[in-house]
């Protein structure tokens, strides 16, 4: 049994402040990981800016913008927020509920298409 396990079984009251601090050593990763992610976030942001600067349109524009967006979001959540190192039970509890927003988004996209259609048909100039 390791020192940390003994402390976990005995509860925090038995551990001294120093020992508790030692057991808390958590999410300790080499600094290089953060610099690499930092660099990639810069590159991806510059790339999505260039999509606008180059004036790309249509599906190509949206594919690139969404791709860069999800890569950036993934890097931030996974490394900066340490999600890849967290327990899987927490990762699922946090990352799955936002999928409801995607369902909501699809529903509202269908709804707004219908609103747009009625506005074009009945209001001439729209609203």
């Amino acid at each position: 049994m390791t020192q940390a396990e003994i402390e976990a079984h005995q509860g925090p009251s038995h551990g001294t402040q120093k020992a508790a601090g030692k057991a808390e050593a958590h999410q300790q990763h080499p600094l290089k990981v953060y610099f690499v992610v930092w660099g990639w976030l810069f590159v991806l942001s510059a790339a999505s800016y260039m999509v606008d600067y180059a004036g790309l349109e249509g599906y190509l524009r949206w594919t690139l913008i969404l791709l860069f967006m999800f890569l950036k979001a993934g890097l931030i959540v996974a490394v900066f927020m340490h999600m890849v190192w967290e327990r899987l039970a927490l990762a699922y509890a946090i990352l799955l509920p936002p999928l409801a927003v995607v369902v909501f988004m699809v529903l509202m996209a269908l709804e707004s298409d219908y609103t747009f259609l009625t506005r074009v048909m009945f209001l001439n100039s729209g609203g």
Binding site: A8, Q17, F42, S45, W85
Partner: protein
């Protein structure tokens, strides 16, 4: 994820790898998150609720934009900066993006130095994060006053659909508020680091809980979330 994580709660082996372990963790009569401290779990759950708030704002913006038959103002031109004779589309927004990403980088390193018990470096990096965050808010103030002087209002603007102003002020305003609150808390955490609260376990003025170095990481979760929201605002509001 297959190996055990170390925290204040000690070493907790996963019940089983993969989804089987998740199901075991969520089974009855036990703590679901095991070695994840209550403070960190609560911050994550708060961030999920905040995700829904921003998600609803962005969905409302999408609905307004897709359902209007009036042309939407071109963000690339509206947010352009004139420098000399040249017109740079979205330049200020790009600078704001880089500033916020850099503040996320310094925050991540502050957390790292915090777990190394390096008070000086942690405090310096936290203050650097706060300065970058304040710079971001400052640029947002500049952007707002520029648009307001050009006639953008929540109920109308000179270039097209009236909903542009209302969604813009609502979404960037709510995000800017988050950044401002984050800067205030960064300064509070930096002060606690400098004073050594996380080494001697001094109790917080509000929660009365003993200070511990994990507070820096929890602060970091909030700050990275603010950056995360900006990633989505940048893509959907400025690049659409």
């Amino acid at each position: 994820m297959s190996e055990a994580s170390h925290t204040a709660m000690g070493t907790v082996q996963p019940a089983a790898p993969g989804l089987r372990g998740v199901a075991a963790d969520w089974s009855s009569d036990q703590r679901a998150f095991k070695n994840v401290s209550w403070g960190k779990a609560m911050m994550w759950i708060f961030l999920v609720s905040d995700t829904f708030v921003f998600g609803c704002f962005l969905v409302a913006y999408m609905t307004a934009r897709m359902s209007t038959a009036v042309p939407w103002p071109n963000a690339s031109e509206v947010f352009a900066l004139h420098i000399g004779e040249t017109n740079f589309p979205l330049l200020l927004i790009a600078i704001m993006t880089f500033v916020l990403i850099s503040s996320s980088g310094t925050m991540a390193m502050a957390v790292n130095y915090g777990y190394r018990r390096n008070r000086k470096m942690t405090a310096i990096l936290l203050l650097a994060t706060a300065v970058l965050g304040a710079a971001f808010v400052g640029m947002q103030v500049f952007e707002w006053s520029k648009l307001i002087s050009e006639g953008v209002r929540p109920w109308g603007n000179p270039w097209g659909a009236a909903q542009f102003g209302s969604t813009f002020f609502m979404i960037t305003g709510f995000h800017g508020t988050h950044v401002t609150i984050g800067v205030i808390f960064l300064l509070i955490v930096a002060r606690k680091v400098i004073r050594g609260d996380y080494d001697n376990g001094r109790r917080g003025f509000f929660t009365s809980r003993q200070g511990r170095w994990e507070c820096v990481e929890i602060m970091g979760l909030y700050w990275h979330f603010v950056d995360l929201v900006w990633v989505f605002i940048f893509a959907f509001f400025y690049l659409w």
